[in-house]
Symmetry: C2
């Protein structure tokens, strides 16, 4: 493992940003600094520590699976989002585990479910840290083509058929979906596609010889700009036997708190809790109490409303400046939530770290995430090298404006 785990692609981006503090970073997945819940946290921590019972309890060890109240409140919140019945077996707090961000859950799920040589189906492109986890565990990622409303289901069907023919279906363990305002493309998976994906996976279980799970990573779900939330895959699988659902309070509340969670089918729950026992035998109780009180007091909800307004505004700013500054030959898509725009360059322009575009942008003081970093090593296709992830999460509106303007100038020069 020590030898297999490679340098995360994001490290040199962060190092580049750190080495040049005047750089405008449209690369970082950091959240908006101005709307971090400082006052809310102040209020909650004061109340918490003033209590003669809850105060000391928050500074003591908790349990491995997490605080029962936070598990209950988180489950209730998901029930509300999915409009699920109170008694929904899939949405039971007994299936809920609290983790250090949902990142830790993604890691432990890989440990629990995958062996070296196994295959995980991923969106193409996908969340690069997850791709790094798979790589470090010797697990092969197989990319599934994307459409505007999620993966190309016909491509999934073909991929499963090919894997079956090659006798590799037994090595497939799960399909990983960043279902809301995906990192990096901003694409949201439609409910109908979740249904179709689960159906296709179910149909292959006989040949695979084991359950094929749908791992739904809903990290950005609550960062919707407007309109109606889409139900999670748990609504297709109300018994919760095949859907693993992960979420986080990092993005919608505070990335500095790092509290995430997962709802797990029984055969996955047991090994994950054991592994969590070995990782850290439980996440920080203080942070869990902070989140539990944020939820129960309504401060989470009121803060989220502010946050969503803020991101709506910042996305609008980025869109406006993309329209004004990017050559029309550069295609980009506007997300309905989350933190990212995704742009595609016309042939033969490249966007990778060695490309003229990247280097010239760096000289002009702008950093973006080269799309290539978000594609798994998959021998069935070359890694596309003509896309950019542009984040409006951490940058100020002024920097979004200046950053896109500068990028636009470089692009105009190259497109000509």
């Amino acid at each position: 493992m020590g030898r297999r785990t490679t340098e995360p692609p994001i490290s040199w981006l962060m190092a580049t940003a750190l080495a040049n503090p005047r750089l405008i970073s449209l690369a970082a997945g950091f959240t908006d600094q101005a709307t971090l819940p400082v006052d809310e946290t102040q209020t909650i921590v004061q109340d918490l520590l003033r209590s003669s019972t809850a105060g000391p309890a928050a500074l003591q060890y908790g349990t491995t699976i997490g605080d029962p109240i936070l598990r209950e409140l988180t489950t209730l919140r998901l029930k509300h989002l999915d409009a699920a019945p109170r008694s929904s077996p899939a949405l039971s707090s007994e299936r809920m585990v609290i983790t250090n961000g949902s990142q830790q859950m993604l890691y432990m799920l890989t440990e629990a479910l995958c062996d070296p040589g196994d295959i995980v189906l991923v969106e193409d492109p996908s969340y690069f840290v997850y791709l790094g986890i798979l790589q470090s565990h010797g697990v092969h990622a197989r990319g599934l083509r994307m459409e505007h409303d999620g993966i190309d289901v016909a491509h999934l069907e073909r991929t499963l058929r090919v894997l079956k023919r090659e006798g590799k279906l037994a090595r497939v363990k799960l399909l990983y979906l960043v279902s809301y305002y995906q990192n990096p493309t901003g694409i949201t998976t439609s409910f109908e596609k979740k249904r179709l994906i689960l159906e296709l996976l179910r149909n292959c279980e006989g040949a695979a010889g084991h359950p094929l799970y749908l791992l739904e990573d809903a990290a950005y779900r609550e960062l919707r700009f407007h309109g109606k939330d889409i139900k999670s895959a748990l609504a297709v699988d109300p018994s919760g036997e095949r859907v693993i659902y992960t979420g986080t309070y990092s993005k919608p509340f505070a990335t500095g708190a790092r509290v995430g969670f997962g709802l797990l089918p029984k055969p996955v729950f047991t090994p994950v809790v054991r592994i969590k026992g070995n990782h850290d035998f439980g996440s920080s109780n203080l942070l869990q109490q902070l989140l539990a009180r944020a939820l129960s007091s309504g401060l989470y909800e009121s803060h989220l409303a502010i946050l969503r307004n803020r991101y709506t505004q910042k996305a609008k700013t980025m869109r406006k400046h993309l329209q004004q500054n990017f050559p029309t030959a550069v295609a980009w898509r506007e997300p309905e939530g989350g933190l990212y725009f995704w742009a595609r360059l016309p042939h033969p322009l490249k966007s990778g770290s060695k490309s003229k575009l990247f280097q010239e942008a760096l000289r002009k003081g702008v950093l973006y995430v080269p799309g290539q970093l978000c594609y798994a090593e998959d021998p069935s296709r070359p890694r596309p090298n003509n896309e950019m992830r542009l984040s409006f999460g951490a940058a100020t509106e002024r920097n979004i404006c200046t950053g896109i303007e500068r990028l636009g100038k470089v692009l105009h020069k190259l497109v000509r």
Copy 2:
């Protein structure tokens, strides 16, 4: 991994305690509830969040290796404890990584350094969660006999000789030492033994074909009752090439905060930071700021003085009641710090979970940790089953008194 990771032995103990809330637990490794730093945390968090720059920064993502100021302050503190020169290469903050308790560091070190089938030398008995980590990674633990001042060095020498003869030295990766007031025995390793251990390991590196690290887990170091601290193994290895040092702020400050750390030799540092990038790309920034401010304000130090007085007092209480209530045939040792007494029953009495003693104690409402749980599966010896770990960490003085009285009664009946 999912299949290999077994139920942690502590789980049923915790379940037993939870199922019977009136039980007096001398089993839990929890810390003293009355001295948890509630006021200190209140003060620090208020100051922190009142700051217009530090407040939002604490609620934002940090870096994977951890906050630079906390890394610096932690290193300075260790320099002070070891009376090391300011320029000590071993005690450089550049080698420091902040983790979720030192537990996460122990886990990542295993991932970074060990492959299935490898061998780790451990104290016999040792910290059972670490033994669980090794087991889950398919790593074999080889137990080293204990003396009053640390492992039996002659036994280590013989063990290394046998491993060499059997051609297994290449599978040995490190020796794990809980060097201060060890969990579970309370034994402290002398400085001379640290020196001898490092020498013996060095001598075997040629035959092993790779570095043999000494992993010093100093989790309880700051919980000394009185007298002088013993220098860490880093003082034997001032270049820091062979000693991996881990510590934690959980025990000496707040178990609910779960902030730990490690000082790592360069070839270990790089893979551990990459793995940490996949685990969670950095521990909670809020908790790190809490600890950094506790250290810089002096609140950590003043709280530690209170804590040490408290544990000194509780250990004294446990000793007094052991003297008054335990049959003389039951041997026990008094620690110089930490949270645990270790008791040994006369032949043929057993202490395991199925023993008369354990069951009868449970009926009388007292729980202890059966010594057997702290021994690795090691084919070279049977697992001793006649010891008990008695913790005075979480129990009130009244419960220590009642608990030991009850245990004493059961023991007197069985010894007769």
